[in-house]
Amino acid sequence: MTTMELAVDRSVTEALESMLLIRTFEEKSAALQAAGQSPTMCTSVGQEASAVGVIRALGANDLILTNHRSAGHLLARGADPGKIMAEIQGKATGYCGGKSGSLHISAKELGVVLTSTIVGGELSLVTGVGLSLQMSGTDGIAAVFFGDGAATEGIFHESVNLATVWNLPILYVCENNQWQAFVHRKETMLTDHISEWAKGYGIESRTVDGNDVEAVYAAAREAVEYIRKTGKPYFLETYTYRLRGHMEPDDQAYVDKNELASWKTKDPIGAYEAKLLDRGAVTRDELDAMRERATQTVERAAKFAAESPYPSFDQLTADVYA
């Protein structure tokens, strides 16, 4: 095996492990919620390839903005599962000291600057982050994750247009998961692809199969290189599907059973495992070991969160002003 192949190999298993960690983490969070041991949260089950593929293409100094469905982005970036779980539960040891809860977790230390649960909030903020990067003269870029629903907010239009006119180094990542809370995307637009909207602004854009982690990674790599080279923004749509409900608990009674079933066959993790087994890149035993590691990690995180204290009451009025 050449060094090159080895590198690819490691990258491949890392991507899979990252996806497994996200899945395990989110299913555990949901289970805790169902058991009355955690507040509600949104999961990204089914969308792991989008998070992992894009984030692995970013550099250490690049900045990330995300939204209410952020655990995947955070974990892919190497966040501490315990600190996320603690934050979800409103504990003092969470990334935001428990003040965010699950919906607006940012982690400056990881370059996850600014998270908003206002749908579209991330789009309004990213242009400013891009502006800072532009003015600083570094070659850093800002990647912003948002949904197909966010794309129907007016601020989407304002953000993409400004980034294009001002040549801001921004990677727009539209995770088109077919759902906007309880409304199917098809009820909200005539186009299937948000990248169709992007075209009008004159921004470089592309839609990629969001359930294929290697395809997402390749597309994101290309996008990141383009941005670094030209200083211009890039619009990447990852076409995927939200396999669980909008927010825990959600019986998905409003979801078309056939559509859901058909997308379940395209589960990014199952598909990737099959592909890697097929290629001989992993063995069943290695897979089992990976799952076991993910489970261990998540159990430790859950324990950490459960044992963490709530913030003290003086936190109620702390950090309002700088």
Partner: protein, 317 residues
């Protein structure tokens, strides 16, 4: 009497008005999904899902209201109204006046706020005072299932834009709701408990805390009157002033942040118009000037407690 939750009562009020008046329709993000029963009765044209875009939801309501419809829109959580301020304030609130009275804007917005779900400061933010300080709007915020229903019906019948706030902490608590036609007039407060020593003035979830505080005070020999404002604009000055003139003491209580809250307006009214009767400082007990935190214990601590209300009432003695 039958009981139901505030959420159910509000929906019943809406359904009754849709039955009564074909001009009433409702839309919002998920309105048709969650309101599938309404879709069944009134059809998909009168109960609609929308794209995820609060500005155009509110603007559409304003434009439709000016041309013959009576829209009820669901903006979900109060902080999302920040995306609809232009349409609500500049269009629905002002275009009647600016046009010299050519148009009216009979619309209702619904939004949720307040502690209860530990969802943090971008879902929970009591901004009712903003709309009280915007011309041409009316604002209501009920505290009982009966008022949720009765005020929803009045809001829909009103020829002006009515901003209807639903306190998250109350939505799923059941309470009595009269059968049949039941309408609560906008602009009329309710005296929830009579008393002679101090007036506790509140609305939404903190009304119950005032009642609980009144219980504690009674044990200490202090007779507290509790007023539930229900309507924040127009505000029922008459009921407030009559009570304070009787008791000579006022404590205003709400969950919204203290500074610039509706309590300031109530205190100012009292300080000007009941001054002669006042025996003690006008007290305010309110949320801190901070965003509501997600962490459950902190979120709960944001809301004025019975203890704080009792203490403030005691300071007036």
């Amino acid at each position: 009497m039958r009981t139901m939750t505030s959420e159910e009562a509000m929906t019943e009020g809406l359904a009754e008005e849709m039955r009564r008046d074909a001009a009433v329709l409702t839309f919002g993000e998920g309105t048709a999904t969650k309101g599938y029963k309404l879709v069944g009765e009134f059809g998909p044209h009168r109960v609609r899902n929308t794209p995820l875009a609060e500005g155009i939801i509110a603007g559409t309501a304003a434009g439709a209201a000016a041309t013959g419809l009576r829209p009820v829109i669901d903006l979900l959580f109060a902080p999302f109204m920040t995306f609809a301020m232009e349409e609500l304030v500049n269009s629905a609130g002002k275009l009647r006046y600016i046009s010299g009275g050519q148009f009216s804007f009979p619309l209702v917005t619904i939004s949720r706020t307040g502690a209860g779900w530990a969802v943090g400061g971008q879902h929970n933010h009591n901004v009712e005072a903003w709309f009280v300080h915007a011309p041409g709007l009316k604002v209501v915020m009920p505290s009982t299932p009966a008022d949720f229903k009765g005020l929803m019906k009045s809001a829909i019948r009103d020829d002006n834009p009515v901003i209807f706030f639903a306190d998250i902490g109350l939505l799923h608590t059941p309470g009595e709701v009269p059968e049949g036609e039941y309408v609560v007039p906008i602009g009329k407060a309710a005296v929830r408990r009579e008393g002679s020593d101090v007036t506790l003035i509140s609305y939404a979830k903190t009304v119950q805390r005032c009642l609980d505080a009144a219980g504690v005070l009674a044990e200490r020999g202090v007779s507290a009157e509790v007023i539930d404002l229900r309507s924040l604009k127009p505000i029922d000055e008459e009921t407030i002033l009559a009570s304070v003139k009787k008791t000579g003491r006022a404590v205003v209580v709400h969950e919204a942040s203290l500074t610039g809250g509706v309590g300031a307006e109530v205190a100012a009214i009292v300080a000007q118009k009941a001054f002669g009767a006042l025996k003690a400082p006008v007290m305010r007990v309110a949320g801190p000037d901070a965003p509501p935190p997600a962490s459950y214990p902190l979120e709960q601590a944001f809301v004025p407690s019975v203890e704080r209300i009792v203490e403030a009432a005691s300071l007036t003695n």
